[in-house]
Structures are given as structure tokens and as C-alpha cells.
């Protein structure tokens, strides 16, 4: 299904904002060979540790001013803790939970 242009623009805005947050959270030494994109993984590509992931999710809640985002949906799939998260997965999650509900 082709997404309407306005919807695509909204997803793009979320992605831009999210990437800026992720970049701002990186306070450790890392050489980024490529720009952060949807396919970038927090742990595998950006060397986030488990604490940094949690702090990032806290920051996302603060920046989007949405204190009760159900991140457990993102972090657990079929009863298993997800090993790594991509920027795109987080962006899609935020898009799905706009307006305070699951869209």
C-alpha cells in the first residue's frame, strides 16, 4: 500500500527528530562512518550500551513530551527481549503511537 504524501512527510519529520535525539545522546567516542539512517542499529552501529538505550528512551519521552510511551512493545517481541533496535523501528513505533494511541 502506497502511503499518502502527507503521511510520508510525517514519518520523515519523526525520523529527523529522532536522529537528532540519538546523535545528541552519544557522549562516547565513536567514529561514524555513515550518517545515521533508518537502518542504523543502536548497539551494533552506534555502540549504545544497555544503559544508554534506557536513557535514550527516557530522552525520547521527554523530548516528545509523551511520558507513557509503551516501549515494552518495542523491546519485547514474542516474549523475548530484542537484541538491538534500529532507528527505523523506533521511528515507526513513534509514528504508530502518535496522538497518544496505537494507530
Amino acid at each position: 500500500m502506497t502511503e499518502h504524501a502527507p503521511g510520508a512527510a510525517r514519518r520523515a519529520d519523526v525520523l529527523v527528530a529522532l536522529i537528532k535525539i540519538i546523535e545528541a545522546e552519544i557522549d562516547w567516542d565513536i567514529e561514524l562512518l555513515d550518517a545515521i539512517s533508518r537502518d542504523t542499529h543502536l548497539i551494533g552501529d552506534l555502540d549504545y550500551d544497555s544503559v544508554a538505550v534506557i536513557l535514550l528512551l527516557n530522552k525520547i519521552e521527554a523530548e516528545f513530551r509523551r511520558p507513557n510511551l509503551p516501549f515494552e512493545e518495542l523491546l519485547m517481541v514474542d516474549g523475548t527481549i530484542v537484541g538491538d533496535l534500529s532507528v527505523g523501528e523506533i521511528a515507526d513505533f513513534l509514528h504508530e503511537h502518535r496522538n497518544g494511541g496505537h494507530q
Binding site: A24, D27, I54, N58, F71, M76, I81, R98, G100
Partner: protein, 528 residues
């Protein structure tokens, strides 16, 4: 009233050890403080646990008002388990260093839990209990970090929570690693003392609050080598060596206390205190195993069975995958909190059934008996509404267990609900310590037990500041000389600042694009 106030916290300090250390000349300065000042038992929070207790001390309010029950923020609802690190955003009451700074006292806070991200104030914050790689970002003000790096021996990997160091459960630390582990804590305290001195001397702080947390770590691991009641009459060579190294830790700590008091000056009022005491634990209670036996939860097929006496899966890792959430209505999530969380909403317990469910659950836990001696293992159940009453108790555990040996429960699966430990370890006890000395403070007095909440009032009054009317703390008047107190009576003051008033700096997206992006997202409903 002039002069500084100094809070020198020693995590887990207990007179069980301090008294013999003073008598044996291991901690002579602390002995002089006791002789020249006031000392007493300091009653911890209802569950004597570091994040609850230190934040209660720092705010003068109980956990039901601070909203801090653990290092982890736990919520169990229809979506399952939310497991996030507790940060300063979750602390719903104002700290005493913030209160002091707002009223013209330059203040500093060092190594307190839940103090990151730092909230701006006239002073400095170096948070504790964070991984070293994040220190630079969380030191306040930003320029302070560079000055810390210039301190001799500065090493963030030893100063702060080192996940590799902390990852090995203490009960599994091999004997040949004890010495290095203890030496790390000796070096760590030296670093914190140097930072404190820098802030007192070069920043001119009027109020400094800090925690030396190595004592807690040493006592968890080495309690059997430290408690006079447990020390072997004929220790092995290894036991003598490790005990001697532990005493080196306490000697060095005593020297840090003395040096910082000297730096603060003779007109400073100094409080040395702990968040809780310590005692021995000989068994481990696998609470979730009991809950599973009674149908309150189901372990997932992947949940391993513990045979090593561990409390949690490795540090900071989400335990959610241990459980089958389709069949779990009550569960212990974090070991340190000793808390049982009841699942609400869809898949959980409805409001109408909550009271009877919780009562039945409490009876199940209290009824459990040690198969060996027939005694009850759960000494007492603390209900949320009773011990965590307050405006911020939404994330408190529904039940908190007080075990017969004061131990921490295990959240893991095991062959049976109760196992004997292969060796005695240390665990938290409700009775901590308070020692205070300075102008106007009584000399050579042992007084009745003081509540940990009341330390906040003691420190604010020591700075000549009024006591906020919304603070639960009360001034422990017995600390002071009656004549001095009559000339310097406590004054009620305006309420503390609500959390919204001191939220950290505005969202820190790239400044060039921030407003435009956020405005667009706000209009589309992504941002509230």
C-alpha cells in the same frame, strides 16, 4: 547563623562495625566526632534500600512522595512490563541542595543515586550510580568535568558504576579477586574525597552532600569477616589478609572524613550518616518460585533455573523474558526492592478484585514455611498504601517483603523457594547511623533514634534556612544544645519547588532545526 553544612554519607554504615572500629583505633576521627558530638541510630525507610533511603534523606520525604522505589522504574500493566532506569525526572520532590541553592547557599551533591540528568542549581552535581562513559554529560556545570579530569588519579572507570565490575554478582566473586575488588573501592573513595575538596575549596560551596558507597559493597561481600560476632576465632591466612584490607578501607575513609571536616572549617556543622545498617543473611528466598507454585505467575520455558544463589539476571538487564505474561498476575521484578508487583488492567487484576487478591497473596507469602526448621520466612508484609502513602506512589510495589533474615529476595527460577547460602553474606538492616558535630550541637550525647527523613531538616536548619512546610521531615531538636536552639529556633518556610518548576533545560535537539521540527510534530499530534 553562619557556617557550612556538610553531609558525609557512608552507605550501609552501622554501629555494629563502627563501635569496634573506633575502639580498636581503626577510625579515630569518627571516634572523636562521637565524643564531641551527638550520635544515634538512624531509622531507614520502611524497606532499607539505597535508592529509597538516600532520596528520602535528600528530600525529607518518604518514597511515596519522592516516587523513587528502586534504581529501576517499574510499571506492570496491560502492555506488560515497563523497565526503565530511574532518573532525576522521576524524583518528584525537591532536594535539599536545590532548596539551599535557591536561598543563596552554594550547594553541591556528589554520588547520589537518581541525580542524573542534573538539575541546574547554583553549585555542582556529580551524579553517582551511572556508567563512566556518561559522566561527562551528567556533570553539572559542564565546565566542571574538565577540572575533574585534572585531579590527580582521576579515573571515571573506577569512580562510577562500572558495569563490568558490578556485573559479577558479589556472591559469585572468586576468592582471588577480592583484593583487587577492595582496592578499587579504596581508590574510588579517594577520588570522591578529592572532588569534594575541590568543590569546598575552589567553588566555595556552603553545603556539600556526598556519599561514600564502598562500605556497602564491602559489607555485602565481606560481612562474615567484619562482624565481630562472625569473625572466626582462627581465621585462615586468606581471611586475615582480606579483613586487614577491609580495615585499610575504613582507615582511609576515616582520613577522608577528617580531611573534609578540616577543609570545611571549624564552624561547619557536619553530619555523618548512613542510609541503612547491615546484618548477616544466610539464605535466599526465591519469591517467584513460590508465586509460581500458587498460580500467581508462570515462568517462561526459557527461564533458567538458578543454582548459584543469585538474585537477578545480570545487572540492568530486563527480566521480562523470564515470565509468561499470559499467565502472570503478580511477580517480583527487582531483587533490591523486595517488591511484588500486581498486574492491572487487561490480563491482570481488575480494581474490584484488587483488595481480596492482594490479601490472598500476602497470606500465601506469610504462610510459607522453611522445610528444614518449619519457621516463617516472610517476617512481615508491607502494603503499598501503608508504607508508601503519598502523591507519587503509583509505581511502588504493591507488596514489599521483610524477610526473617533481612535478606533480598531473588526473582529467578530455582528448584525450591528457599536455599541456604554457601557462605554468609551481608544484607541491609533498618538501623543506620547518625553522628553530628558542630556549633550548637550537643557534645558527647547519645540520643534516641532519629528518622532518616529528619536529616534534611537537620541540614537545612544547620544552614540557617527555614524548613519547608510541605516537607515531611521534622527537626530532631535533641541534636542541639537547648540554649542554642532557643536562640536559633526552627522557622517554617515556603513549600518546596514542584518538579515542573525545575525541570532540566529545554529539549536539546539541534538548535537550528529544533523549533521548526517540534512545532510541526506538535501540530500533527506527535508531541504533546
Amino acid at each position: 547563623m553562619s557556617g557550612r553544612a556538610l553531609l558525609l554519607g557512608i552507605d550501609g554504615a552501622t554501629f555494629t562495625l563502627l563501635d569496634p572500629f573506633i575502639d580498636e583505633g581503626v577510625m579515630p576521627f569518627l571516634g572523636r566526632m562521637v565524643a564531641d558530638g551527638v550520635h544515634c541510630t538512624l531509622a531507614s525507610t520502611p524497606h532499607p534500600y539505597t535508592p529509597q533511603a538516600w532520596t528520602a534523606l535528600a528530600t525529607g520525604c518518604g518514597p511515596g512522595e519522592t516516587g523513587i522505589f528502586d534504581f529501576i522504574r517499574v510499571e506492570l500493566g496491560e502492555h506488560g512490563l515497563r523497565y526503565m532506569m530511574a532518573t532525576s525526572h522521576d524524583l518528584r520532590r525537591e532536594t535539599i541542595w536545590s532548596i539551599a541553592a535557591r536561598q543563596g547557599r552554594r550547594a553541591a551533591s556528589l554520588n547520589f543515586p537518581v541525580s542524573f540528568p542534573p538539575r541546574p542549581l547554583d553549585g555542582a552535581i556529580v551524579p553517582g550510580f551511572v556508567p563512566p562513559r556518561h559522566l561527562r554529560r551528567f556533570v553539572y556545570p559542564a565546565g566542571l568535568y574538565k577540572r575533574l579530569t585534572e585531579l590527580p588519579g582521576f579515573d571515571p572507570s573506577e569512580l562510577l558504576l562500572n558495569l563490568e565490575l558490578e556485573r559479577t554478582p558479589l556472591e559469585m566473586l572468586p576468592a582471588d579477586r577480592y583484593e583487587d575488588w577492595i582496592r578499587v573501592h579504596i581508590r574510588r573513595e579517594a577520588q570522591w574525597a578529592a572532588i569534594a575538596e575541590l568543590l569546598l575549596v575552589e567553588e566555595g560551596c556552603d553545603f556539600l552532600a556526598m556519599i561514600f558507597d564502598g562500605a556497602d559493597k564491602l559489607q555485602h561481600l565481606c560481612w562474615r569477616l567484619l562482624d565481630p560476632a562472625l569473625v572466626a576465632q582462627q581465621p585462615t591466612r586468606w581471611e586475615r589478609r582480606i579483613r586487614a584490607l577491609c580495615l585499610d578501607y575504613y582507615r582511609a575513609l576515616d582520613e577522608h572524613l577528617e580531611h573534609l571536616c578540616d577543609v570545611a572549617g571549624g564552624d561547619a556543622r557536619v553530619v555523618v550518616c548512613s542510609d541503612h545498617g547491615f546484618t548477616a543473611t544466610r539464605e535466599i528466598f526465591y519469591a517467584n518460585v513460590l508465586l509460581a507454585e500458587h498460580g500467581y505467575l508462570r515462568f517462561s520455558d526459557r527461564a533458567p533455573s538458578d543454582a548459584a544463589g543469585r538474585h537477578m539476571i545480570e545487572a540492568h538487564r530486563n527480566p521480562a523474558e523470564l515470565f509468561d505474561w499470559t499467565a502472570t498476575k503478580a511477580v517480583a521484578i527487582t531483587a533490591g526492592s523486595n517488591g511484588i508487583y500486581v498486574r492491572r488492567g487487561e490480563g491482570g487484576i481488575c480494581p474490584a478484585s484488587y483488595d481480596s487478591f492482594v490479601e490472598r497473596l500476602a497470606q500465601t507469602l506469610l504462610a510459607y514455611r522453611d522445610p528444614t526448621d518449619g519457621g516463617p520466612v516472610v517476617r512481615r508484609i508491607l502494603f503499598r498504601e501503608d508504607v508508601f502513602a503519598g502523591a507519587a506512589n503509583g509505581r511502588a510495589p504493591d507488596l514489599t517483603l521483610a524477610l526473617r533474615d533481612h535478606g533480598f529476595l531473588s526473582v529467578l527460577r530455582s528448584a525450591s523457594p528457599l536455599r541456604r547460602r554457601p557462605q554468609i553474606l551481608g544484607t541491609h538492616h533498618p538501623d543506620g547511623v547518625l553522628v553530628a558535630r558542630g556549633p550548637g550541637i550537643r557534645s558527647g550525647a547519645r540520643i534516641e533514634t532519629v528518622s532518616i527523613l529528619d536529616v534534611a531538616a537537620l541540614l537545612l536548619h544547620s544552614l540557617g534556612l527555614p524548613l519547608p512546610i510541605d516537607m515531611q521531615a521534622e527537626l530532631p531538636t535533641e541534636v542541639f544544645e537547648p540554649e542554642w536552639l532557643s536562640s536559633n529556633p526552627p522557622r517554617p518556610g515556603p513549600p518546596t519547588e514542584p518538579p515542573a518548576a525545575f525541570e532540566t533545560q529545554p529539549p536539546q535537539l539541534d538548535k537550528a532545526g529544533e523549533t521548526q521540527v517540534l512545532e510541526r510534530l506538535r501540530a500533527l499530534g506527535y508531541v504533546e
